[in-house]
């Protein structure tokens, strides 16, 4: 439906780009500051100040979600809204929708930060927001889709430049991922249970997690790269043909690679192998794109010396190439065994985030600001200084985390000649990394300092100039030509296809969900029992405190894992885990076999101050669990919600959950009393102990012997 006959002047809406650029930079500073605080806490545990909402388990999700949705998200919107209008030669579809999108998105981010600090979380990585925020995200995402597709539909150029293809694939896929992963049953205003449990939840979550990285942090930025890089060097992309190939190959392959996050877990092995193979295939399109970007710089390399914009783009492409080689390598099962749960993963994502994303965002910001405010960049010198501080900080960060990851991975796997663990005490493998955690903290803080310089530079640029909305005359455009009715109809196929796809997907989900819910209603193994009311409340506290950020609950299928933690985890053990808590990082040891390993008293003292039981531990203390009483107001709603999801609670429990709760709590209180500890049965620590003591204790009778 390209509106080719309607030539004339067109005023672009660049307010959108200005607003989203500001949001990108300011949230970026917030997100990076939280990241620096989290990094400091790993090197120096008291840095949470004893405050619950500043503790690592709560602020790490704030950091990651801020970087993904606020920093990268707003940057995508800024770059997309700026370039889309130029590529379509059309003002954005609706000024109102643009404003709604902007303010809606910022409100979502603010609400996310506040609720996560308060411990309202789904406990699923990069999808921590609770259901009301998830709904808001879906609504605002649709608003954006209407705005984008509306602009494309009314475009004055027939050809859809490759960047637009990247934008379209990104926004459609993210919509699907977001909906599928966040399907949940609300049991309170900010509490819900995922409709998936255990292995199924893990699979859906990492299908989401992997593709959210793919379609929010990769494809839209490739779109931005294909527009902004040629503009910055004032040369067309090296090979347009390659860019088309890059696009189609990447989107067809990416979606299948998710299971590489679950190697050696209880996920069926064929699914693991599928994920690994597709991950390796991904090298080809990724490097095709990187090479295309770098070769676009042909004949312009001398400009890199002067031009901060190009410096950042070269940094971005280099790290895109590195991260997209490293990712597939880490997906190889044997290497993944070493790297997974260690800081190597942290190095990998920060190479991508600080190098690729940061490079693209800051390059774009320095190029855009002079255009958006119709002036020169305030200081190239300052921008170049930003580049060097950021690059050195990034290298310190990544190399320290590489070293930490490989060191710890090797220590975990090291055995003596007798076949025993060389470092049986997990803590020993953590304390070896503390100097590296300091280096990481310094590197990250340098990167943050560079970003502050950028904000200052853009602020001064904006102040020196005037906000302008560019007006272009498209009457001389070569593409403007009268069209037949039939040709116009054909042009509509594209938005129609997109809308049909969304419709089909929603239909598909509605069809699939009941069928799959039926399956979970049939417990196949009798060994697994539902969490008691007390254990369930304890589990919700575990999720609230974000324990999964540092502890896994998955003993992998490898003999050295079993040597350290006990028998490997089985799929049926997670049958009633709504939501799953396998984790992705072991800053502390795996907890799946911790149940009954220590007495209640040990857990009591450990949560009060981990150093009482584990001298030198870097885990924060959780004193508030010893003051706060468990909020049982939602208990009945929680049990009802889980019953709907197929958890077979006994009628006696459903009728009087508080009685069941008190009965079990009193036993723990009595056990502690025998050791001279006075506690009441309504304290959070009691529920927490009950949950931890349940973990991994229910193995099928025929397997319990080996």
């Amino acid at each position: 439906m390209a509106n080719l006959a309607n030539a004339g002047p067109e005023v672009y809406d660049d307010r959108a780009a200005r607003l989203f650029l500001w949001a990108t930079l300011l949230w970026g500073i917030v997100g990076m500051s939280v990241g620096a605080l989290a990094a400091l806490q790993l090197a120096f545990w008291p840095a949470n100040g004893g405050i619950s909402w500043l503790t690592f388990g709560r602020i790490r999700p704030i950091h990651t979600d801020a970087m993904v949705f606020a920093f990268a998200g707003n940057a995508v919107f800024a770059g997309m809204y700026y370039s889309l209008q130029r590529l379509c030669k059309k003002r954005l579809f609706s000024d109102f929708l643009t404003s709604l999108h902007f303010w809606g998105w910022q409100a979502i981010i603010a609400a996310t930060a506040v609720t996560l600090a308060l411990g309202m979380t789904q406990g699923k990585e990069y999808a921590e927001m609770e259901w009301p925020i998830d709904l808001a995200i879906a609504v605002i995402w649709v608003v954006m889709c209407i705005n984008v597709f509306g602009t494309i539909a009314k475009r004055r150029v027939e050809h859809l430049y490759v960047a637009i293809w990247f934008y379209i694939a990104s926004i459609i896929t993210i919509a699907v991922l977001h909906i599928v992963n966040n399907l949940a049953i609300p049991v309170g205003a900010f509490k819900s249970y995922s409709i998936y449990s255990g292995v199924q939840d893990a699979l859906v979550q990492w299908w989401y997690g992997h593709n959210a990285v793919g379609f929010l942090l990769t494809t839209p930025f490739l779109g931005i790269m294909y527009y902004f890089l040629p503009k910055a060097v004032d040369k067309p992309v090296y090979s347009y043909r390659l860019s088309i190939l890059h696009f189609w190959a990447l989107i067809f392959v990416y979606i299948w690679a998710g299971p590489h996050h679950l190697l050696y877990t209880s996920l069926p092995e064929w699914a693991q192998s599928l994920g690994m193979v597709f991950s390796l295939v991904l090298i080809a399109p990724s490097w095709g794109g990187m090479i295309n970007g770098l070769l676009t710089m042909r004949g312009a390399w001398h400009k890199v010396r002067e031009e901060p914009v190009l410096k950042f783009y070269v940094l971005a492409l280099t790290f895109y190439g590195m991260a997209t080689l490293e990712g597939p390598l880490l997906s190889i099962k044997s290497l993944n065994l070493l790297s997974h749960y260690t800081d190597w993963t942290i190095a990998h994502v920060h190479g991508g985030a600080l190098g690729w994303l940061g490079g693209m965002v800051f390059g774009m910001a320095y190029w855009l600001a002079p255009k958006l405010w119709n002036t020169e960049l305030y200081s190239k010198k300052l921008a170049n200084m930003h580049f060097w501080i950021a690059t050195i900080g990034l290298l310190l960060y990544v190399s320290s985390m590489w070293t930490a990851g490989i060191t710890q991975g090797l220590m975990w796997m090291a055995t003596t000649e007798e076949g025993l663990l060389k470092y049986p005490n997990f803590l020993e493998t953590v304390l070896a990394l503390i100097p590296l955690y300091w280096v990481r903290m310094i590197g990250g803080t340098m990167y943050l300092a560079g970003s502050v310089l950028c904000v200052y530079n853009i602020y001064k640029t904006a102040k020196a100039g005037q906000p302008v909305d560019i007006e272009v005359d498209t009457s001389n455009d070569r593409h403007v030509a009268p069209r037949t009715f039939h040709e116009r109809l054909e042009g509509k196929a594209f938005p129609l296809t997109a809308l049909a796809l969304v419709a089909v997907l929603i239909g598909g989900i509605v069809e699939f969900v009941p069928a799959f819910l039926l399956e979970t209603k049939v417990p196949t193994v009798t060994a697994t029992t539902p969490y008691t009311p007390l254990e369930l409340q304890g589990r919700d506290i575990y999720i609230r405190e974000g324990c999964y950020n540092c502890h896994s609950q998955m003993v992998r299928t490898h003999h050295k894992e079993e040597l350290r933690y006990g028998p490997h985890s089985k799929d049926y053990e997670f049958l009633y885990d709504f939501n799953f808590q396998w984790g992705s990082k072991r800053t502390g040891p795996d907890l799946h076999r911790v149940g009954k390993k220590y007495p209640d008293l040990w857990h009591y003292r450990h949560m009060l101050d981990p150093r009482l039981t584990s001298p030198g531990s870097i885990m924060p203390s959780y004193p508030w669990l010893f003051d706060s009483k468990v909020d049982t107001s939602l208990l009945a709603a929680k049990l009802n919600g889980l019953t709907k999801l197929g958890v077979p609670y006994k009628d006696s429990v459903l009728q009087d959950p508080v009685a069941a709760y008190n009965e079990q709590a009193d036993v723990i209180v009595a056990t502690l009393a025998a050791e001279g500890i006075t506690a009441t049965n309504d304290l959070e620590i009691i529920a927490m102990i009950a949950y931890l003591q349940k973990l991994g204790t229910e193995r099928a009778p025929d397997e319990a012997s080996h």
Binding site: L160, W165, P236, V472, T497, L501, G508
Partner: protein, 50 residues
């Protein structure tokens, strides 16, 4: 593990959507000219005023 088939189903639908888009794009001439579109984005900004 019906969820695996659900995800595979959704991934296939996404893939099919991409395939339909690709066929549409190829048929409607989006990829007929692989030189000019790359050049054109460099010239569209400031036809009116700079």
């Amino acid at each position: 593990m019906i969820v695996i088939f659900m995800l595979i189903g959704i991934s296939f639908i996404l893939g099919a959507g991409a395939l339909v888009s690709f066929i549409w794009a190829a048929k409607s001439g989006q990829f007929d000219d692989l030189e000019r579109p790359a050049e054109e984005i460099l010239f569209d900004d400031f036809f009116g005023r700079s």
